[in-house]
């Protein structure tokens, strides 16, 4: 069977480029032209002859026992080829990223509204929809566990064999009886945010003719993790489940977990035909995990001069029905409660609990977003209590390299916190609101709602630190292969390109290391070893390190070859532009000439340094490295109607080294927009475990009119640990911008805003 997707996937990444485009330049992405011309094949564009459409039946109840499932009505519909339920899963009945606790299909009980119960394959999406409507499921509705405190208190019967507490973790350090001269406290809430990537979940599964294997084109963040989980559920050897990355329309954490992968493969194996599955927007809200809603109590102790001495915190994350990455999100939250500030004493207690709410897991910022909203709100309270301004108190406590964290881990990363704050403060402020402004520039926009006399301007600050890569002993290595032949480099890796631009970075690395112009990219697939996940701000460091390593090994082989031909020591050779040069002699030959009739082919794995699990007091070297950022937000608030316009965000970000200025700027601006969304717009609203707004009509996302002006300063202090000196830059932009915007709204209104998103009623009546 020859899928059309395999050829289109090749064109996605196989574009040659002849520009020099080395590291440090704004080299253009190789997938740019196909994307603007509509030629780029996203996973939803995959197509095969004779394919059927798959669709999923989901529970309408957040908690119910399944008494019976009758699929006969669906099977009787002309055009329906298969209906599958839990009884059709040949292998492991559950899957999951950390704990395998989520059923492929619910069998006896459903634990959240939207949980898959059955799936169908049909000749048309409309036939599939009718088939789902014809499946009769008899439910006995059970009382849902929807309050995280009920899970902690043990007052609710276990809703899952693994219990209602997914993980509890304390971080205890220093004198537990210490009381500061100044004490401030507060309880903060963070709403459930959705990744809302534009490219909906989609896959095409192609069964092998003998039914003993399968090929899957899918939009995901980590091909090899998917492969492992899918193979276990299908009861197939891992090597018989072959994955190729379908074009990915954004991810932001929402594609770390399995969604439709296993269902799609099961239907393909059952029918022996290609199956295409794609979610609609509403189903997407049910089909992937979300950012954990959180409730965080914090108490800060300081000296009268503002010196931070102790943080106390109680962190509660609602993980929803299944564990996903909740335990790792919790670790991030509890280990980041001090923020980017020196602090010797900590008393942190954190819970990630199970409930009958939709499952939560990874989203850009991964636990640190929640922690940061709490600690930054607290820093402003502390500043006020000490009679200091928000910048002054943050500068006074700014962390530096060599500090001991509340986990006891020494901050070994470059930690330019003070510089982040100072450079942000030095960025220009926006001009005042015009006397007769265009209505589109006002809070509320063209609704013509705001009266300029009701508009108040405010300024707020947020500063954050974020761990990079996976933590707690996990070896999330990355693999890359480099082949040099006749002056052309071909790279291969399984790194999920989800929009971040790794495809261009990989080309830049190869051009810099090997002095070539043309860098071809193989399809991104499981044909090579794992690259780990595109998450945790890790691919520039990890897959970048792997590509760099593979290219360097090839360069060594090339030098050995040239040295042998010219009878000199290979250590004398270097790359200069597109030439191999003898640094101690006159030899200069182009890489193209030097590599003629040669094939140098090397594979390299990059591993970061080892980390440790936390002990019961939350002590241990659990993180690999950290990055820092400061945000200053300026808002206009219509105090009468509670409407907010974010006018400007200024930011200075610790990036180590800028490898592609254009791509880096895009990451910063994009992250800021997502943090703005959490601050004032975005929340999945739940009532008794049921989602009330699973659509883009009701779940509001920042538009072009909501986007603030963004002014950016990149702080380049190369990170010695990082293969290219560059830190990951994906997550920091979206973390402290949220508290900065809320602080600005507080500044404008005087209201004590303790939850995000800030809603109009919070401003008007809060």
């Amino acid at each position: 069977m020859t899928p059309s997707a395999s050829t289109t996937t090749r064109t996605n990444t196989g574009t040659a480029t002849t520009s020099r485009g080395v590291l440090g330049t704004s080299a253009l992405r190789p997938d740019g032209l196909p994307k603007v011309q509509g030629r780029f094949a996203f996973s939803s564009d995959a197509w095969a002859d004779n394919m059927l459409w798959g669709a999923t039946l989901r529970s309408p109840h957040p908690h119910a026992a399944i008494r019976s499932i009758d699929v006969s009505g669906a099977l009787a519909i002309n055009g329906v080829s298969a209906v599958i339920t839990a009884d059709d899963v040949p292998g492991q009945l559950t899957y999951g990223l950390i704990a395998s606790d989520q059923p492929v299909f619910a069998r006896d009980v459903v634990r959240y509204a939207g949980e898959p119960v059955a799936a169908v394959a049909a000749d048309h999406p409309e036939t599939a929809r009718r088939a789902l409507a014809a499946i009769r499921v008899e439910y006995e509705v059970l009382r849902p566990l929807v309050d995280a405190e009920d899970a902690i208190a043990g007052s609710f019967p276990a809703i899952h064999p693994d219990g209602n507490v997914i993980r509890r973790q304390r971080v205890i350090r220093g004198d537990q009886n210490f009381t500061g001269e100044v004490v401030v406290e507060g309880t903060y809430e963070i709403g459930m945010q959705d990744q809302a990537f534009l490219g909906l979940e989609a896959a095409l599964a192609l069964p092998d003719d003998d039914g003993g294997g399968i090929e899957l084109f899918v939009a995901t963040q980590w091909l090899h993790e998917d492969q492992k989980q899918i193979a276990a559920c299908l009861n197939l050897p891992t090597s018989n489940v072959r994955l190729t990355l379908g074009g990915v329309g954004g991810a932001f954490g929402g594609r770390e977990d399995i969604s439709l992968q296993v269902h799609c493969c099961l239907l393909a194996l059952k029918t022996g035909r290609p199956i295409k599955m794609q979610y609609g927007r509403e189903e997407s809200f049910f089909g992937h995990i979300h950012r954990h809603p959180a409730r965080i109590f914090m108490r800060h102790h300081a000296d009268r001069d503002g010196t931070l001495r102790r943080v106390e915190a109680r962190v509660v994350l609602d993980g929803g029905a299944y564990a996903s990455t909740s335990s790792a999100v919790l670790i991030n939250a509890v280990t980041h409660m001090q923020g980017p500030y020196t602090c010797d004493i900590a008393t942190v207690d954190g819970y990630a609990v199970r409930s009958n709410n939709p499952p939560c897991g990874a989203m850009r910022g991964f636990g640190v977003v929640q922690a940061c909203f709490a600690h930054e709100s607290q820093m402003d309270k502390l500043a006020a209590a000490c009679g200091m301004d928000p910048v002054e108190i943050r500068l006074k406590n700014a962390m530096t390299t060599g500090d001991k964290l509340i986990t006891g881990q020494v901050m070994e990363s470059v930690a330019p916190v003070e510089r982040c704050i100072r450079e942000t403060a030095a960025l220009p402020l926006p001009s005042a609101l015009a006397e007769t402004p265009d209505v589109l520039a006002l809070p509320g926009g063209s609704g013509l709602t705001a009266r300029t006399s009701n508009i108040k301007r405010g300024i707020g600050w947020g500063v954050s630190m974020k761990n990079l890569m996976y933590s707690e002993g996990f070896d999330d290595y990355a693999t890359a292969r480099c082949r040099l032949a006749d002056g052309v480099v071909t790279l291969q890796f399984a790194t999920a390109e989800v929009g971040q631009g790794f495809v261009v970075l990989a080309q830049q690395i190869a051009r810099s290391v090997l002095g070539v112009d043309t860098v071809l990219l193989e399809p991104i697939s499981t044909a090579i070893g794992s690259a780990g996940s595109t998450s945790a701000s890790r691919q520039t460091w990890m897959s970048g390190g792997a590509v760099d390593g593979a290219c360097r090994v090839v360069r060594e082989r090339l030098f050995e070859h040239v040295a042998a031909v010219h009878n000199i020591d290979s250590l004398r050779l270097a790359i200069n532009g597109t030439d191999v040069v003898d640094t101690m002699g006159a030899l200069r030959i182009s890489v193209a000439t030097a590599s003629r009739d040669l094939v140098l082919d090397e594979t390299f794995e990059h591993h970061h340094r080892a980390t440790e699990e936390l002990d019961e007091n939350g002590q241990g070297n659990c993180h690999v490295a950290f990055a820092f950022v400061a945000h200053r937000a300026v808002v206009d608030v219509d105090t009468e109607l509670g409407l907010v316009k974010v006018v400007q965000v200024a930011t200075a970000q610790d990036v180590g080294r800028v490898l592609n200025p254009l791509a880096a700027l895009g990451q910063v601006e994009g992250g800021i927009a997502q943090g703005l969304g959490l601050a004032v717009m975005e929340e999945i609203v739940l009532v008794d475990g049921k989602m009330r707004n699973p659509s883009f009509t009701d779940y509001l996302l920042p538009t072009a009119l909501d986007a603030p002006d963004v002014v950016v300063s990149m702080i380049e202090e190369p990170e010695p640990q990082a293969p290219l000196g560059a830190k990951g830059i994906g997550e920091p932009p979206c973390i402290s911008v949220t508290p900065a915007i809320v602080a600005a709204i507080r500044d404008a209104t005087g209201k004590d805003l303790a939850r995000v998103p800030v809603r109009p009623q919070d401003i008007v009546f809060g």
Partner: protein, 168 residues
């Protein structure tokens, strides 16, 4: 009720990118978006919300920018439809397509075809949009990756390049 694949031998024609396409055996409920993507082999137009909120499926219908997800295909028989594929039929990128790549307006690229169509529509109507006019014109196209900054820059570059041509 007929099932989607039993609707007989009826057909209708759509005029897309200057060519007449016969649509055979379509179910009457199919949107223009579905027919473009699944029946006419034009997957450049993307679907991301099915409610006309995100603009990913923007096409030009009789000179107006519309969301193809909200148009029933069978009602578009009289219309002249232009999709992203129709903007650069010979493969040579348009000025707007080029500026999106050069200015960094493309990340995941899923919203991009709809934005490209919307920006062409804007600059054809208003060759010199100011900042707020640019923002307003694309406020129906949601982008989740870029935060819009590089997209604004791409529109400015395309606008300014066209103005330079006018003045030369």
């Amino acid at each position: 009720m007929t099932t989607p694949q039993q609707s007989g031998n009826e057909f209708f024609s759509l005029t897309v990118n200057g060519m007449s396409h016969q649509v055979q055996d379509a179910w009457v409920g199919e949107s223009l978006l579905y027919v473009l993507r699944e029946r006419l082999g034009l997957p450049g137009t993307k679907g991301a919300c099915e409610q006309g909120e995100c603009g990913s499926c923007t096409v030009i219908m009789d000179g107006e920018a519309v969301c193809a997800c909200l148009v029933m295909a069978a009602t578009a028989v009289e219309a002249d439809i232009v999709t992203v594929e129709g903007l650069s039929p010979d493969g040579e990128p348009t000025d707007v397509q080029r500026s999106f790549v050069d200015a960094g307006g493309v990340q995941c690229g899923f919203c991009t075809p709809g934005l490209i169509v919307a920006v062409h529509h804007l600059l054809d109507r208003n060759p010199t949009p100011n900042e707020l006019e640019i923002r307003e014109a694309i406020s129906g196209n949601i982008c989740r990756c870029t935060g819009y900054g590089r997209i604004f820059e791409a529109v400015r570059q395309a606008r300014d390049a066209r103005q330079e041509q006018v003045h030369e």
